[in-house]
Structures are given as structure tokens and as C-alpha cells.
Amino acid sequence: MNIVYDGKKDRPFKEVLGEVIPRLAEEDKDVIYLDADLMSCIGTSIWAQKNPHRAINCGIAEANMAGIAAGLSSAGFKPIVHTFGTFASRRCYDQIFLSGGYAGNSVTVIGTDPGVCAAFNGGTHMPFEDMALYRALPGAYVFDITDAAMLEDVLAQCKDMAGVNYIRVGRKSNAKVYEDGARFEPGKGIVVREYGTDAVVIACGIMVEKAVEAARRLADDNINITVIDMFTVKPLDEALVLKYAKMAGAVVTAENHNKIGGLYSAVSEFLGRTYPVPLGYVAVEDEFGEVGPQEYLEERFGLTAERIVEEVRRAGKL
């Protein structure tokens, strides 16, 4: 895996979604795309209008959309469903859970604007619990996307993966971390930076770039850590977590999500019964979201490189 991170912004995710969804549908006649009146938000609208048999606008009715997607799966299609993360999780969870997972149907769900990425849409649109919900769905894959190359590859793989796959991703840009055309293995974390093993930071989504920034700052103080991108939050790459927990002896997680039920929970649950080490977390405390610019919200909820630095020092007694 070639890491090309230099802090520069990547292509906007919505541009990637607007290209990749139509391309997948054109390459694979079984792919069908469903949206709940948010096509224009991810650039699929014009293509969808020209291809009404491949793209279905279900209107503002997410529960129905989830059920229709599951029904289409049973008829041999590979449905890709999109709406904002709150609606892609809480609003249609029971339908994805039962009509999808329990009934043995396969659905790929894209929830955009996870956590603080919901910014100006505010607390009603700000899912800090979507990963917790999808983690509790038996057999589901849960992805928190880091950059454009990852989104492109993970989405292409999901369409052929049985069961429920949940992809949480922003619509704007994150920093570019991976080279174009990179391949990602679901369920395998990626070592993004390896300055040393004073501590390990396991991050996902928008927090990966912040973890890299924290690692750089810590290196200035001669504290050398490793940063892992755990883009598959479920199933957790337990072997990688164990390996670095043993080497570092202190683990800090970082996620744009409630501390309950997401990456911190997954890592804690695993290490608690296998190899207990001092843990730290950077995550949203048990709170609802609120409105504001993303930068403000990152400060407000403590999702910053600074907080990662603090947690590394605390957990690692450094």
C-alpha cells in the first residue's frame, strides 16, 4: 500500500460517488441504485434520470427504500442504497436489519455526512451512532472511509459482497492518503505511519489524517507512535490490533462517532479479553450533535490532533 499523504485535500467524495455509482451500474447489469431524494447531493441525478431502470428515486421514504432494496436483492439484483447517515441508519435500521440481513438479502448502504461532517444540517442530521447500530447487525461490514481512492475501491467490492455492508463517508474532501487505484482488503487495517511503538493510534474516517498530524507533532517531542487506519470497523482486524498492542503497550482510538459502540468499543471489547493494555479514546462523549462549521464541531466534540496527542501521552504515560 503506497501512502501518499502530504496534507493536501483529495477529490470531494460526492464527485467520486457521482462517478463510481453510474460506472458500477454500467459495468454490472445487476447493480441497481436507490436513493431517497438525495441524488442531487452526490451527483447521480442526471445519470439517474437517463437510466430509470438502473436508478430508482424512492422519494423521502427510507424505510420503504430499504425494503425495496432487499426485495430487489432476492430478485437477483445488487442494490446500492444512498441517503444521509442518520436516515441510512436510524431511520431504516429495522428494515435493513430484518428485510436485509435477517432475511438473507444483500444490500450496500451508503450513509453520507457521518458525525460532524453533517455540519450545517446540524444535530438532526448528525449520526454519532450509525456504526454502533450497524456493528450490532450480525454479519454486517462497517466501513468508515478515509479518502477517495478507498471509497472507489471499497464501493466496487461491496456490490459483490453478500449480506449488509454499511459505508459511512463525507461528501466533501478529506486529505488524500492513498495513491490512486489502491486496493483495500475489507477487514484488514492499514499501517499508515510507523515512527515507532511508544503507542499506537487506531483511527478511522476523518480522524486518520488527524492521527497522522498527531504522530508528527509527537515525533517532534521524540515520542514515536504508529498510526493504523482501521477503515473496516467491523469485522475488526484483531490480528493487527493485537500485534501493535503487544508492541506498543498503549492504544488510543480516534473516531468521528460516539465513544459508545464504534471503534473504541470494538478495540476495547477485543483487547479487554485478549491483551489488556492502557487505552485512550478520541470520540464524541455521549452527546447529541449540533449545528456549525465542521472545524468548529471538531473542536466542540474534541475530534482533533491535539486531543489525540493528549490521549497518547495519558495512555502511554509519555
Partner: protein
């Protein structure tokens, strides 16, 4: 028109479905009696005369499909499937036993012939829309039949699915509303009055028809008919517990116990009705 011979066959099948369901409940001691008995006639017409299915190949892609969204009527569907030969009749007695293929609510992963998993009310509606839409997009000839309870229509999801069906002209899906006027806590008009269902479906863009849902002839005439540019919704006026007087007259008949004593009485009543069908021919094994 329903010819005399077929009519007798369907009458017989409807009663055999009821007997099968009661035998299932008896083996477990209780079950969703009322709503299983109310749809037995619709199931008899669907599996006995209308639906194109192959018991030897339950997943045949061009088949007609049934989604019993009121999944608690699964025991009636199981009886129909067993009588049709999808699995051995004796298996009916495993209803809700540990490790069974016949759970209380329909499960497509467990039961041959069950086309979709249901039970969480409302969800089968959207699933059926997706299945029918999928078949249409794949160019398959099959129709999907969707059985929805009138109480189930309390669920908003059902109306989302109805709106979608009409707006996107999903005409290879037929909605059958089991309008038995009762739900778990009492009469539907007391729990949450849904008003005039025919008018509601018509307003949603359906070709909506009210019939006597326990009348085989009326069911047959409608369910076999060609559908044009609007999806068909059949409001089936039924009696919850239909076929067993004592069950019909029990107010709380959603779920009922079946004891040795009631079983003997109820089965006798159903078999009397079978015997009353002229030229009914020989009984099937297992239910005599």
C-alpha cells in the same frame, strides 16, 4: 367463471388448509389462530388455481410469488405449501419446535416455498414491491401476491410502499388486504380506525376492489384477472377465525390455545364441512 369442479377442489383445499393450521397449533399448544383462518380461502385460490409455482423447484425464477406480510399467518401458508407438496405434511407438526423449519412467522431461509421473510409488520410490503420490480426489470413473467393485514396497515411503511407501487406502476404486484376488522387488542376501528380502505387505496392510485374475502368465486375472479396500468388492491372482507364457529365468536382470537378438547371439537367441525362438499372424493393422507 369458476367451474363447479374447480370450485369444489378449492373449497376442499381451503378446509384442508384450516385443518393443517389447527394441527400445527395443536402440536405446539397455541398459535395465531384468527388471522391464519381468515386468509385460508385466499391461499386456497392462490395455490390451488392462480399461482404458477413448482413444488419440486421452489426457487424457480419465473414463478409467481407470495409475500405474506402478516407473517403470523405463516401456519396457514405452511399448510398450503405442505398440501401442495413443497414439504411433507407431517412436518407441519414441528411448528415452533426447537430447530424447526416452520417458525411462527414466515422465513424464506428455512421453509421451501416461502418466498420472503416477514413478521415485523409493514416490512413485507416494501419487500414485495422490490421483488415485483426486480422481476419486471429482469423481464420475468411472474406476479407477486402480497397479503397484508388490515391492522398491519397501521404501519406507515405500508403506505410508503403503496404510494411507490402506484407511482412507479408496479402492476405485477397484487395487494390483498385481509380486512378481518380485528387486531391483537381488539377491533381495528377501536384501536386505530383506518377508515374506508378501498377509498384509501383508490386515492393512492390503485384499482381497488372490495370483495367477500372468504368467497372463493369472488377471489378467483379477481386474482386471475389481467392488470392494466394501475396496480390492483383487493380489500378482502373476511372473518377472523373463519371456519370454526367458536373461534369466530371469540373476541380475543388473535392467538389462542389449542387443547386436546378444543382440538377434537374444532377438527370435527372442519371435517364436517369437508364431508358436506358433494363429490369431494378421497381425503388426503394425514388429515383423515
Amino acid at each position: 367463471m369458476l367451474d363447479i369442479k374447480l370450485k369444489k377442489e378449492l373449497e376442499r383445499l381451503a378446509l384442508e388448509i384450516r385443518i393443517g393450521a389447527v394441527e400445527e397449533f395443536k402440536a405446539r399448544g397455541f398459535g395465531h389462530m384468527g388471522g391464519s383462518l381468515s386468509v385460508a380461502d385466499a391461499l386456497a385460490v392462490l395455490y390451488g388455481a392462480v399461482m404458477n409455482v413448482d413444488p419440486k423447484n421452489p426457487l424457480w425464477v419465473d414463478r409467481d410469488k407470495l409475500v405474506c406480510s402478516k407473517g403470523h399467518a405463516g401456519p396457514a401458508v405452511y399448510a398450503a405449501l405442505a398440501l401442495k407438496g413443497f414439504f411433507p405434511y407431517e412436518e407441519l407438526k414441528t411448528l415452533n419446535q426447537p430447530g424447526t423449519n416452520l417458525p411462527s412467522h414466515c422465513d424464506r431461509k428455512k421453509t421451501p416455498g416461502i418466498d420472503m421473510t416477514t413478521g415485523s409488520l409493514g416490512q413485507g410490503t416494501s419487500l414485495a414491491v422490490g421483488m415485483a420490480l426486480g422481476d419486471r426489470l429482469k423481464g420475468r413473467p411472474g406476479r407477486t401476491y402480497l397479503i397484508v393485514g388490515d391492522g398491519e396497515l397501521n404501519e406507515g411503511q405500508a403506505w410508503e410502499a403503496a404510494m411507490f407501487s402506484a407511482a412507479k406502476k408496479v402492476t405485477n404486484l397484487v395487494w390483498l388486504i385481509d380486512h378481518n376488522n380485528k387486531q391483537l387488542d381488539g377491533y381495528t376501528q377501536d384501536v386505530l380506525d383506518s377508515g374506508d380502505l378501498r377509498l384509501k387505496f383508490e386515492a393512492f392510485g390503485f384499482d381497488a376492489v372490495s370483495i367477500d374475502g372468504n368467497n372463493l368465486e369472488q377471489l378467483y375472479m379477481l386474482l386471475g384477472k389481467d392488470v392494466q396500468d394501475r396496480p390492483l388492491a383487493v380489500i378482502m372482507d373476511t372473518i377472523k377465525g373463519k371456519g370454526i364457529k367458536e373461534v369466530e365468536e371469540t373476541m380475543a382470537n388473535h392467538s389462542m390455545a389449542v387443547t386436546e378438547e378444543t382440538y377434537d371439537r374444532w377438527i370435527w367441525e372442519l371435517k364436517q364441512q369437508l364431508d358436506d362438499i358433494p363429490c369431494a372424493g378421497e381425503r388426503k393422507e394425514g388429515i383423515s
